[in-house]
């Protein structure tokens, strides 16, 4: 069952170390200047360079490499690097400097069946240096991605204890608390940060999190001043401008919001581009140069995945969702986007199962993710696995606990599983119960999806009379001037229902329906 996000705020990003550089949040707000060597140190360096002309030995090459910061782009440095690489006595550490190679880190060769390489890697680093705040943050990230939230909790505290004033640690921890539903705590963390009023990254997070908990930050005035500060590079102020614009949108000041977004998109982060794109989709801001901003960024998986999803480029949407998932594996949003593109768009249930599985792995307490996984497995014909994946949802149905609308989504999936177990009546009962509830409560989108799925199952079991009726009912329910993802699903079901039985679904027909999907 699809669940694309309906609200979005410019909350801090939290990524593992290797992919964090693209965020640029760790870069200095102000650039410094290299202090030259003292005269006697320069003399020593000059003497080394003079000796280098006469004797190109490894020892002198290493001396030059040690002085590399003071010899930018010099030919001597290049030559010395060449000697180090070629010399058989050169140390591995020296070669690593020259080639910028990373050590082949050996982690404990765990044979545990559930051993996760990222976890083993981060644990090894933390074992070597328990005060390594980024290693603790990375380990928490890896635990979150694999659903071990209680373990992540301790590590977040460890990271905060080791480097509680660091911007990246604070933003990562705030994002973690947001993920775990401790919204107040997330906000408090940033609101009490010592460098808050001087740091646009912290301030933008604080503004957004204040909105999440239904308050308005007390730092809006300072934020406005900082957002205009010319002494800080534009990219560092981008998220702050966007956060201020979001505040203005909530107050109905669309004109100022647009102006702030234009500034933010001048030198944007991928978070800002994703947010601007979201607001355009919602129609809250218009005519923003989002595509141009997106083109300028190397990495913008969220924005690109959403863009591809909305334009019917299912494959790109799935690729970008995979990348987004690499960065934010703990979040259900990339999993949902990938799942939707695979399930509704390209009807690739193996891909859908992959995304749903990642959603379950990171959020084992989220029953909707279990439902998605069970749905994808049932569609693939792996009924026993689907039943196993559905256990959490089945328990929720049995206890009648949780959101009632979600419970009826589970009932529809229970119907699908029953159907695939050749229990046609059980399957119809599940779909009917769900459809009746959605109709009674006027939940149109879920009703249309439920009816379309039901129609597909009726068709599969040879009930040619019932399937078109259900599909027509779904079409009437989903009738709208704006074409949405539900219409793609209906088109696919339509192709399936209208084709003669035994003939496989034409990929050209699906492709046509994809191409016909207009950009919104």
């Amino acid at each position: 069952m699809i669940s694309i996000h309906r609200t979005r705020r410019i909350v801090p990003r939290w990524r593992p170390l290797r992919s964090r550089d693209a965020l640029r949040e760790e870069e200095p707000l102000k650039l410094g200047v290299q202090t030259p060597l003292a005269p006697h140190q320069q003399l020593e360096l000059n003497e080394t360079l003079a000796r280098w002309k006469d004797e190109k030995t490894l020892g002198i090459a290493l001396e030059i490499i040690n002085s590399a910061s003071f010899l930018p782009g010099s030919t001597e440095l290049e030559e010395a690097s060449g000697i180090v690489l070629l010399h058989r006595d050169a140390s591995r550490a020296a070669c690593a400097i020259v080639t910028s190679a990373k050590a082949n880190e050996l982690v404990s060769a765990s044979t545990h069946i559930r051993s996760v390489p990222e976890i083993e890697f981060a644990r090894a680093r933390l074992r070597r240096d328990p005060r390594n705040a980024f290693a603790a943050l990375n380990l928490a990230h890896a635990y979150c991605a694999n659903g071990y939230q209680t373990k992540a909790d301790r590590l977040i505290l460890q990271a905060l204890a080791a480097a509680g004033t660091n911007r990246t640690v604070l933003r990562g921890a705030a994002r973690y608390y947001l993920h775990t539903g401790e919204h107040e705590r997330a906000h408090r963390l940033l609101a009490n940060a010592p460098g808050l009023l001087k740091d646009p990254w912290l301030l933008s997070g604080e503004l957004a999190l204040a909105e999440v908990i239904g308050r308005t930050s007390v730092n809006v005035k300072v934020a406005k001043e900082l957002a205009e500060s010319q002494s800080i590079e534009a990219v560092h102020r981008s998220e702050l401008n966007a956060a201020l614009a979001d505040l203005q949108i909530h107050r109905g000041d669309y004109k100022r919001a647009r102006k702030n977004y234009l500034t933010a998109l001048g030198s944007p982060t991928e978070n800002v581009v994703a947010q601007a794109q979201f607001l355009i989709e919602r129609g809250e801001v218009t005519s923003l140069p989002v595509e141009e901003a997106m083109r300028r960024l190397n990495e913008a998986p969220e924005a690109r995945a959403m863009d591809a999803l909305m334009n019917g480029s299912w494959k790109i949407a799935q690729e970008q969702a995979r990348r987004w998932l690499e960065y934010e594996p703990f979040s259900v949003r990339p999993a949902n986007v990938g799942f939707t593109a695979a399930d509704i768009g390209s009807q690739n249930m193996e891909e859908a199962a992959f995304f749903a599985h990642r959603g379950v792995r990171a959020n084992p307490g989220n029953a909707i993710q279990h439902n998605n996984y069970a749905f994808a497995l049932a569609q693939l014909g792996q009924v026993s696995d689907a039943e196993k994946a559905f256990e959490v949802c089945a328990a929720a149905i049995a206890k009648n606990s949780g959101d009632e609308s979600d419970l009826h989504v589970f009932k529809a999936t229970a119907g699908l599983i029953a159907w695939r177990n050749h229990d046609l009546e059980g399957g119809r009962r599940g779909y009917r119960e769900a459809a009746d509830y959605f109709e009674k409560n006027n939940i149109k989108l879920r009703l249309a999806i439920c009816l379309a799925r039901w129609a597909a199952e009726e068709h599969r079991s040879g009930n040619k009379a019932e399937a078109p009726k259900l599909l027509e009912r779904a079409r009437t329910t989903a009738k709208s001037n704006v074409r949405g993802l539900i219409h793609v699903l209906l088109d696919h079901t339509d192709v399936l229902v209208k084709k003669p039985s035994g003939v496989p679904t034409s990929s050209a027909a699906i492709a046509k329906s994809v191409i016909a999907f207009p950009s919104q």
Partner: protein, 374 residues
Amino acid sequence: MKPSEMLEGKILEGGYEVRKRLSKNPDHTGGNFSVCYVVHKAGKDYFLKATDVTFHPGGGDQATRIRDTMTVYTYERDLLEIARMHAMTRVVRVLAAGDVPVKVGDPKTGEFEIAVFYLIFEQADVTLRDKMMAAIPVEAIDKLKALHHTAVGLRQLHSQGIAHQDMKPSNVVGFMPATGNGHYKVADLGRATHRDRSALHDGLTCPGDPRYAPPEAIYGAPAEGFDRRRFGADAYLLGSLVAQIFTGVSITRAIEAKLPEAHRTGKWNDPYDQLLPRLREAFDAVLLDLRPDWPYQKEDPKIREELELAVRQLCCPDPMHRGHPRAFGTLDPLDLNRYVSLFAALIHRAEIAERTRAMELERIATAENSTRAA
């Protein structure tokens, strides 16, 4: 020509005859604004370092220049005197100090005398830098001995409240007698400072060589307190020397190479606490890079473990957590005694490892001979 450059041929107090001026940077006992010579007395060569008021690095009026030059000279002389008084066996010895008048100007238009201040040291045969730059490889056990002597030298200075602050291979000098074992000493107190007496360079965030200095110094955020700031820098420099002696690269350079461009010195201008977690990450990666380069890996893996641990403790990018963890709660958290003992113990282990290696080689040679004979 500066007055200090005109000493050749002069006979100094005590009978030292100034002979050859050392043309290139003769950093054996420091080249901080000075000229160096070889001096001779009773059939033996010594090393002389001379300075005068014209060597003042900054601007200011004449009075300030004279005062500063005098301060720098007397400060170093007094520290060397403390070292001599306390019989610091691993700190280079000053044998004489004084001044000599030198006539400058044109004899036709008028000459005047300027005092040249000098320090005479025992003459070293080699610096650790020379040894590292030479094509002939140094035995690992000799490297451990050099580290042990350097650690002893620093500990001796620390025991009298003196921080060296500029420990690098060119400031470790070797004395290699024709007979007996060679030994190393710590040289150049030109950037040193005393706990109870402030030096002219105390205000500098990075008093030593920035190519080797601890990260907090090159990023302009020195630690609070004399011990953490000054002794902490020495601890880092000793740790960096441990790495450099075995790999040829300083920890400062190795860490920098691991950082993204925007985090490097000269680019970074934000508070140090924003950079510190990244530095810790980079430092951890550097220690992994160093692993294959430690000596005696096959014969005694414990030596690698101990050396890596020593570098991890001594070169921690956070100056507040530098040093041996068991010393944290003590009055002397940067006590180098533990490392002196460690290097001494490692020398013993290395001797055993050398013997094991020799025996292994002998066994292989015997086996080869017997195969050939058969």
